[in-house]
Amino acid sequence: MRAISCIAVNVFRESVRDRVPYNLALFAVLLIGSSFFLGQLTAGQDVKIIKDLGLAATAIFGLFIAIFIGIGLVSKEVERRSIYALLAKPISRPQLVLGKYAGLVLTLAVNVAVMTVAQFAVLAYLTWTIDPAVRAAWDAPGVDPALLKAIALIFVELMLITALALFFSTFSTPMLSAALTFGLYLVGHFNADLRNFEVAVNSRTAARLARGLYHVLPDLSAFDVKTQVVHGLPVPAGYIALTTAYGALYIALLLLIATFIFSRRDFK
């Protein structure tokens, strides 16, 4: 456990050295700039749009961090040949993979936390400056704790994408890993269509295959509750718990396969 945490902290430090936190400044500028301009353009919908924009930016920035850092976690060590020095230390290969994963998840957690604070600060400012009569007509309060539900599921989705990127990086090149991870990200968002494929095709075999793929491929659209949260619609706690548990199991599966592949890999 100590070995995993040491590797995780080092991955986090490396991401700071790689100037990953710069995206936080960009996020802050984007939100503050938007809050200034949107009031003029949106016919009173600025708070809704700031929420949409903040949640989308959290997801997009996190996606880029998860993919572009995730694909290099293992392959970079192999390319630099630093893997030999690492494996000579008293750490097992599964510990290395899990430590790398935990480090990137820590980086993402810090990013998401700072973005959440920035978003709530901008929303609090807007809520404070807007006429109470206008505020009373909003679908949901400006500073709405329910936003945390959407952010929590975004974070679980990012953890899953990180696991995907790490999984591919254990046996593939960075470019191919990026392409495969992004491809699965896209497929994961259309996955729900496969569930009802029998409506679109006559072939029972094709329908069964589609249903099988629906279960095997990651169902990423389930993690998206942004619209409901922004409009103040209920998102049941049971749904969040089940989706989070699904994400955790899928992550465990990917890490299991990744450690298995990495343990058997020959670096000679």
Binding site: A43, G44, I49, D52, V134, A137, T227, Q228
Partner: protein
């Protein structure tokens, strides 16, 4: 070794930070100057290409947007407002508003809970030219789409009733929709009496005034503006009735045309009467019919009884 370090030193001893800063500022200032000069010399015409909507299928847009459909909806919402505002303020071209419905349709497909997009459509798609495309049918279509997403939203029932009442002059259908609006959860208690009154009186200004006064309390500034204008139109209709009555009681001498000047000279009116926007009323010299001027911001007027 000495030569190499000397070369390194000469490389580092390039332009100083101050010179670099001044040069950068000078080049940027020159670029801005050229841009301003070009814009002054070649006034850009309104580009027709901006009026193209490449993507019209909401389902395709939703697929292309992945997880970010709400953000895509916001983009189309902003574009709908820009399109409406651009056409409404247009001086040198026809005000067609031809993209207003497709843009609002895309917005509401991407985000089916975007209440204000449905309500904006209800008001402005129905508005007759030049203030809108004059398509109450599309306004109702959009609101019915909203009812599929939120079947208990009393505001959509109210807006369908309103379009039927104000634009289609179908008082019976309007009363039915007002009644259904009153049946929804959290509906205000004035809806059912309004429906009953409308069934009884139909084409009356009192119902219209009550409706617009309720809309005047809206949190949306553009709705309040529309309500203010409509209430002014109702006041103008009242003013026309009073003037017609004066003209009936004090007609001009036989063979003389109707004119405000004649009434002023006879000290029946003090000055040329004006509508609530401050524009003088028009008076037909032959028939003596009073109307709101086409130059008035209140034109075109609704057709309502007394």
């Amino acid at each position: 070794m000495t030569n190499r370090s000397a070369a390194g030193a000469s490389h580092r001893a390039g332009p100083s930070a101050t010179v670099f800063g001044i040069a950068t500022a000078a080049v940027l200032a020159a670029a801005i100057g050229l841009q301003v000069a070009r814009d002054r010399a070649y006034q850009q015409r309104e580009r027709e290409t901006e009026r193209i909507l490449y993507l019209r299928s909401g389902d395709t847009a939703r697929r292309l947007a992945f997880d970010f459909d709400a953000l895509a909806a916001d983009t189309y919402w902003i574009r709908a407002i820009q399109h409406y505002g651009g056409d409404r303020l247009a001086v040198n071209r026809a005000r067609k508003y031809e993209l207003l419905f497709p843009l609002l349709d895309l917005t509401t497909t991407l985000d089916p809970y975007f209440t204000i997009a449905y309500r904006f459509g209800a008001i402005f798609l129905s508005e007759p030219a030049p203030g809108g495309p004059g398509r109450p049918d599309l306004a109702i279509q959009l609101l019915q789409k909203g009812l599929v997403a939120q079947p208990q939203k009393w505001q959509y029932f109210h807006d369908i009733a309103f379009v039927n009442y104000w634009h289609l002059r179908d008082f019976k259908t309007a009363a039915q929709w007002f009644h259904r609006a009153g049946d929804q959860p959290n509906a205000p208690n004035w809806l059912k009496p309004l429906a009953a009154g409308m069934l009884a009186a139909g084409n009356d200004r009192a119902s219209a005034r009550l409706l617009w006064t309720q809309i005047l309390d809206s949190d949306q500034e553009w709705l309040r503006r529309t309500a203010t204008r409509s209430l002014e139109q109702l006041n103008a209709l009242d003013g026309i009735d009073q003037l017609q009555e004066i003209l009936r009681r004090f007609p001009p001498a036989p063979g003389t045309p109707f004119s405000w000047g004649d009434l002023s000279r006879r000290r029946i009116l003090g000055d040329v009467p004006r509508d609530p926007s401050g524009t003088p009323f028009e008076l037909d010299p032959t028939t003596g019919k009073v109307s709101v001027s086409k130059a008035s911001p209140l034109w075109p007027m609704p057709s309502l009884g007394s």
